[in-house]
């Protein structure tokens, strides 16, 4: 049973022992970035920060797919939802993200056909059920989501569906790590690497990154004890001066990941330079539809009249995504920008750093 497994790893005693070990071992200050949004939420929800010594600073990274989606892509989603005859299919947490003029939630309230789906395959079902409508799936996410979307596109090709397309804004994680290390204002001593993404790409996908930068890189799972175990490995590496690429989530992650999923992904998608909110354009970090599947590319199928994308004034999401600033440092945080009335995407997504701070650590909790 999956859950019994989960409970075992949540076991309070193991977690307390790991935290005690970290407190006993850690002497040098470490700035440690958790790259993945699900890690961020797990860290906050479990109150894990309150168990760590002051030497360990956790920085939340750019691993929330909604948060790093470029404003121009959000504007395109809104424009697509407004196209006559279109059914816009989206994951739930994109609904509230404010674009330059509107959000999908507002478009739905205005009568556009915006449907929340739980998987890309749901949007294929919509296309089959509505042959006289165009169904556009908004493809956002990392290597975790991309293989399913790729499989969906292959299924659409096999079925010869003419009314289905994908607006791909998928992104890949290793490219973002590289970009972060190249930013002068970003000072990171070690990385907690994302568990789900690594299930697909494998630990070896980070090898060349690690060789170039020689900072501790440890793949972590999502239970509090998983995270503490990975942090303990990092602290050991830091204290002994022996950085390494390590896997602290071996029950799910293999060195070569999931070759089948990677094969599907690389058949359907081709790398492309992509804009990230906060990080700018990163070479080869996006996934565009490969020529063989270009007919399912919403970017080619629709001609959109897009506004000049303007990121919200005063919003520090960009710097927060790189760990250069903390949410409470943003002048909008908690006043002008709240989960009910978000200004930037980091406050919208449940996995966004600002939302996690707002929900779990406002007015307390050291970090």
């Amino acid at each position: 049973m999956a859950l019994k497994h989960a409970q075992e790893y949540r076991d309070a005693d193991i977690a307390r022992q790991l935290a005690a070990r970290i407190r006993a071992r850690s002497c040098r200050p470490v700035r440690l970035m958790e790259v993945c949004g699900t890690h961020t939420v797990s860290i906050f929800r479990s109150g894990l920060r309150s168990l760590l010594p002051e030497t360990v600073t956790l920085i939340s990274g750019p691993g929330c797919p909604v948060c790093v989606t470029d404003q121009a892509d959000i504007d395109a989603f809104v424009a697509l939802a407004r196209q006559p005859g279109v059914i816009a299919a989206t994951f739930g947490d994109l609904m509230r993200v404010p674009g330059t003029e509107s959000s999908l939630q507002r478009e739905r309230a205005a009568g556009r056909d915006v449907r929340i789906v739980y998987s890309a395959f749901d949007s294929l079902k919509l296309a089959r059920e509505n042959p006289d409508r165009q169904v556009v799936f908004f493809g956002v996410g990392f290597e975790t989501t991309a293989p399913t979307v790729a499989a969906t596109v292959m299924a659409a090709a096999e079925a010869g569906l003419e009314n289905f397309s994908v607006w791909s804004a998928h992104k890949t994680v290793p490219a973002a790590l590289e970009a972060l290390m190249g930013m002068p204002e970003v000072a990171i001593d070690a990385f907690l690497l994302p568990g789900h993404v690594s299930v697909i790409i494998g630990t070896e996908a980070y090898r060349s990154f690690f060789r170039r930068h020689r900072v501790p890189c440890v793949v972590a799972g999502f239970e509090p004890a998983d995270l503490l175990a990975a942090i303990a490995v990092i602290i050991d590496q830091v204290e002994s001066g022996t950085p390494a690429l390590a896997n602290a989530y071996p029950r799910a992650v293999a060195a070569d990941g999931n070759p089948k999923a990677r094969a599907v992904m690389s058949r359907v998608f081709a790398p492309v330079d992509a804009p990230w909110r906060g990080l700018g354009i990163i070479g080869g970090s996006g996934l565009d539809l490969a020529p063989e599947f270009a007919r399912f590319d919403a970017r080619r199928r629709f001609t959109l009249d897009l506004p000049v994308a303007v990121e919200p004034k005063g919003c520090a999401c960009g710097q927060i995504l790189t760990g250069a600033r903390r949410p409470p440092d943003c002048p909008l945080f908690g006043s002008r920008c709240t989960p009910m009335d978000p200004v930037g995407p980091c406050m919208v997504s449940s996995e966004g750093t600002c939302a996690a701070y707002y929900r779990y650590a406002r007015g307390g909790g050291h970090d």
Binding site: P65, D93, R96, H196, S350, Y358
Partner: protein, 336 residues
Amino acid sequence: MTLETILLDHGAGGKLAHRLTTEVMLPILGNPILDGLHDGAVFDLPAGRVAFSTDTYTVTPLFFPGGSIGDLAVNGTVNDVAMCGARPIFLSLALVIEEGLAVADLERILNDVAAAARRAQVAVVTGDTKVVPRGAADKIFINTAGVGVVAEGVNIGGHRARPGDKVLLSGTIADHGMTIMTQRADLGLALEMQSDSAPLNRMVQRMLAAAEGIHVLRDPTRGGLGTALCEIALQSRVAIRIDESAVPIQPAVAGACELLGFDPLYVANEGKLIAAVAPEDEAAVLAAMRADEHGRAACTIGEVTTGPPGQVTLTTAIGGERIVDMLAGEQLPRIC
């Protein structure tokens, strides 16, 4: 001609409306007061202060494991009245029906209303039916209002929690919300979970009979346990600390929450209550709750403290601390 589908004419007050009332509704819901078909119900109430509450129900799907919009509409209002410390007695029932609803579905819903009313020992004594054009409502919306009587000496209110009070919870959280969510998402997990929709008035009467030190009662419906605790902390100007590992949750519900990225503290319940109780009455009230079929898993989850007014904190299973905030907007399933 037998009735098969609800038409706009059924709400127009003419012959069809009369047939709907007399042939469909009264056979299911009838009682001496309702059968009179007056413009309103006339009745006596026992002595005491009167509690009065109303709520409107809309849910997709209409029928789900563990209940339907029919029993929700009764239990929800019965519970709101009960949370005032009152014994609910009478309900009103108003239906807004989208034309095209199958009469068989309406009958099924009304049967659930009748069964829930019997179970809660309340009577539906007045009602109304409107039919709106297709698209103007989603199949059926139901409003119920309820009146009840508060016994002498009972004084329950969201502002009455005091430092030192124990916080009790009547059972597992998030069952209703996750059942509905997984039904909508068609995730195939539904077999393992069902809504907790239930009337809590009998349990409340048992609790009130067991001890005088019950200060607050609240049913954590929309917004979940977390939001309800925040409301109590704000209204009473106290802090509340709860212990995560003490909060019961069904394994299947916890799994569904993890899958969709939901925090169970903010997921709706429809058959649970929280109580703030003077520490000396904790054992007696817990025993009264556990003696009731809807409170078998009742437990203490935390206490009221002198911390910053309005603040709710949670001690996590691994011994960490964090804030519990009110839910902001509906939880949306995440991308992973």
